[in-house]
């Protein structure tokens, strides 16, 4: 059925189910038969290392499977009756011909959700999903010469790209420099080495294990990939690594060659905190200076819009009606009547947000 025919059937059926949607009844038969809130079923949880796992999810109705390698997906999990949302890069390839999507998660210390996903998630669990998005993608066709520089679990979006090259048999000239804390903690190591073997001459893989080789800095990167200036680079990893990359490429006047993906916003600035009022919903909260307005709104039960949750996509933008908020990434202040990104801002005194 074409989407328009489906839409028509839906519209007619919703006349019968009003004020609910047909989905509200169909999901009683199969929890995935609803497009009202995107859902997925956890099919498998595959351990990758001691503290990382790949979660294979079968999406329900309404999920667009035509994501691009490198994009991320929002995932919501129910913990003690409450939905918690995070974003993770997709590690699977859209070309695998399977109706599943995979994310690879590393359990962070004190990571309330990441730890749960890696260690406690049972196959069969229903999770919520947000549509794939993100600009960390390759052009089609890919550039002739590519550099991937990844650190830790920053390999996940790049793995999706490598798998896609493999599927489509379009592997360009790739140098992949990957650093991990140790050999044991290197995610996807076997698959990466197998691909390197298969595409000998086209894909070159350089590994750096911090405990054996020390931290991989830009000098070492230049050694590993001397022709880095000739390559389009996709870089994903911890914040200090990304900052170093930005400086390095900018200094060479090649910032246009650099594509970076943050997997967490670097929220180091602090605000004073304050009393926040969510004007339309009438909810309120007292905040410290480290809690983002998005987290605060969700905890107070406000339906906050959100996307990447790391200050990139601007889905979460809301008008600030009163007060001052601070951007936790850089300390920038926003005044009343400005639009603010709630996922990276915190209260600097009492403020009112229009939602």
């Amino acid at each position: 059925m074409s989407p328009t025919a489906t839409d028509l059937v839906r519209r007619v059926a919703s006349r019968v189910t009003t004020p609910l949607l047909p989905d509200d009844y169909l999901k009683l038969i199969n929890p995935l038969w609803t497009a009202r809130e995107l859902r997925g079923k956890v099919v498998e949880v595959l351990p990758e290392t001691d503290d990382a796992a790949t979660i294979v999810i079968k999406p329900g109705w309404g999920f667009r499977a035509d994501y691009q390698p490198g994009q991320y997906v929002g995932i919501g999990v129910d913990r003690d009756g409450k939905w918690h949302w995070r974003s993770y890069s997709i590690s699977s390839t859209p070309d695998a011909g399977e109706n599943t999507v995979s994310i690879t998660v590393k359990a962070m210390p004190e990571g309330f959700i990441s730890d749960h996903l890696v260690r406690d998630l049972e196959p069969g669990t229903i999770v919520r999903l947000a549509l794939p998005q993100g600009e960390f993608v390759l052009p089609d066709p890919p550039p002739a010469k590519v550099l991937f520089w990844t650190g830790g679990s920053g390999i996940t979006p790049v793995m999706s790209m490598l798998r896609t090259f493999d599927r489509r048999d379009t592997m360009p000239d790739v140098v992949h420099v990957h650093s991990a804390p140790s050999r044991e903690q290197a995610i996807f190591r076997d698959e990466r080495l197998a691909l390197t073997e298969k595409y000998d001459g086209r894909l070159r893989s350089v590994e750096n294990f911090d405990d054996e080789h020390g931290i991989l800095d830009v000098t070492k990167l230049e050694d590993a990939c001397p022709d880095w200036r000739d390559r389009q680079a996709w870089v994903c990893g911890p914040a200090p690594m990304l900052e170093a990359a930005e400086k390095h490429w900018a200094a060479a006047g090649l910032i246009k060659h650099l594509h970076i993906e943050r997997f967490s916003a670097n929220l180091t600035a602090s605000a004073t905190g304050g009393h926040v009022t969510f004007a339309k919903s009438g909810k309120e909260a007292d905040l410290d200076g480290a809690t983002t307005l998005l987290e605060a709104g969700e905890a107070a039960g406000v339906q906050m819009p959100f996307g990447c949750r790391m200050g990139i996509c601007h889905t979460c933008v809301l008008p600030l009606k009163k007060g001052i908020v601070k951007d936790l990434r850089n300390g920038a202040e926003y005044q009343e009547n400005q639009n603010i990104q709630t996922c990276v801002t915190a209260a600097a005194g009492d403020c009112v947000i229009e939602i």
Binding site: V16, L20, R36, G81, K82, H84, W85, E298
Partner: protein
């Protein structure tokens, strides 16, 4: 007479009122910090039951010309509508489940199976009624703009028709609710903003059109030659829901002991005084767990008015703590079996259709605040009883 100062009515000093307020705040904090998977399961289960009842009812009515199927289908549909409107819809729209962070069970998105648009309900009920509860001239739920429910409302010859209006309102309750936010009183006094009224009427019309089409056209038509019997079944289910919700809702603030207030009470009212007004202005009724769920937990009207946005499944445990506080502060806690509460409402409505005051509905202030219950007395407290405090 309506009360103009809750504290002096309750014989409490301002300090005692504030102390009581802090005790209520503590109840709220305790419940808020203990909401979890069990509470979420409660509302999700009820929602699943509602949907199964609706499907069961609608499917059964495909044989609506067969009388037993008509009866069973109508019963399931009526039960579904009652459950959805009362325990689910009303409470979800209060934001009782917003903490779950689930857009499908959220006050911002819920639309209920009745002709009143959720958006207008949230204004007339959550805001106007729950803020200005029982304040004559501010709370439109005091008589809904058509009934005289307290001697403080001036008699008008039109009140002679009250027994008839009451019966009609009961039968057509859903429609009364749909028009409620228009504020009949304001329209009568020609104080209503015509632009706002047009906007509201549009909203009502959009909702009504869909509801009426579903129950009185589409479903009857789907059952083909049984059009008429399905139509009567759907209409009956709606009327059963109307009668039930009317009766439950009238037991909330119109029985004896649920006090009314004047606008003077609102001046400089503190949060603690607001709590006290909610407590004095509401009436509970007793019943089984099933009865309470079927009545949208409005048998816990007092608890609902103190904490309108705490999950309704927690009201029974909140009630225990509220009763203990009433005992401690010598405050009335109005409760009785539903038939008695409704009997009092009916008697008041009949009496007040005639001019003059109602003799036995005059508020009786609680006994002066003579002593505090000791912890042992609180522990041995046998449970709810008649509102008057024990003799000095």
């Amino acid at each position: 007479m309506a009360i103009s100062d809750v504290a002096s009515f309750a014989h409490l000093s301002p300090e005692e009122v504030e102390e009581l307020g802090r005790e209520f705040d503590q109840i709220r904090r305790d419940i808020e910090s203990s909401r979890g998977a069990k509470d979420a399961a409660y509302i999700r289960n009820l929602i699943a039951i509602h949907r199964k009842l609706v499907v069961g009812g609608r499917v059964t009515l495909f044989a609506s010309s067969f009388p037993p199927a008509w009866i069973a289908g109508t019963a399931m549909l009526a039960a579904g509508k009652i459950l959805e409107n009362m325990e689910i819809g009303h409470n979800v729209m209060h934001g009782q489940w917003d903490w779950m962070n689930d857009p499908e069970i959220h006050s911002g998105t819920w639309e209920w199976d009745t002709t009143c648009p959720a958006e207008q309900w949230k204004h007339s009920h959550n805001y106007v009624h729950h803020t200005y509860t029982n304040v004559i001239g501010k709370d439109n739920d005091v008589g809904y703009g058509i009934l005289r429910v307290t001697s403080d409302q001036k008699w008008h010859p039109a009140n002679l028709g009250q027994p008839v209006y009451n019966a009609l309102l009961a039968l057509l309750f859903e429609w009364g609710v749909a028009l409620h936010d228009l504020d009949i009183e304001a329209i009568r006094k020609r104080e209503k903003d015509p632009v706002e009224m047009k906007r509201q009427l549009k909203g009502i019309w959009r909702k009504v059109r869909k509801q009426v089409a579903k129950d009185y056209l589409i479903f009857p038509a789907l059952t083909g030659p049984q059009f008429v019997s399905t139509l009567t079944a759907n209409a009956t289910a709606n009327v059963i829901r109307n009668l039930w919700s009317y009766a439950i809702i009238f037991c909330g603030h119109f029985p004896d002991g649920a006090e009314k207030f004047t606008e003077a009470e609102l001046e400089n009212e503190t949060q603690a005084e607001w709590y006290l007004r909610q407590l004095l202005g509401s009436a509970n009724f007793s019943g089984s767990r099933f009865m309470h769920i079927a009545s949208g937990s409005l048998g816990y009207q007092i608890e609902h008015h103190l904490f309108p946005d705490l999950p309704s499944n927690r009201y029974p445990e909140i009630a225990e703590r509220v009763k203990a506080l009433c005992e401690k502060y010598d405050l009335p806690y109005t409760i009785g079996p539903m038939y008695r509460q409704y009997g009092q409402v009916l008697r008041t409505l009949m009496r007040l259709s005639l001019p003059g005051k109602q003799r036995d509905a005059a508020p009786e202030p609680p006994e002066p605040h003579h002593k505090r219950a000791t912890p042992a007395e609180l522990r041995n407290y046998p449970g709810p009883k008649a509102p008057q405090a024990s003799a000095a």
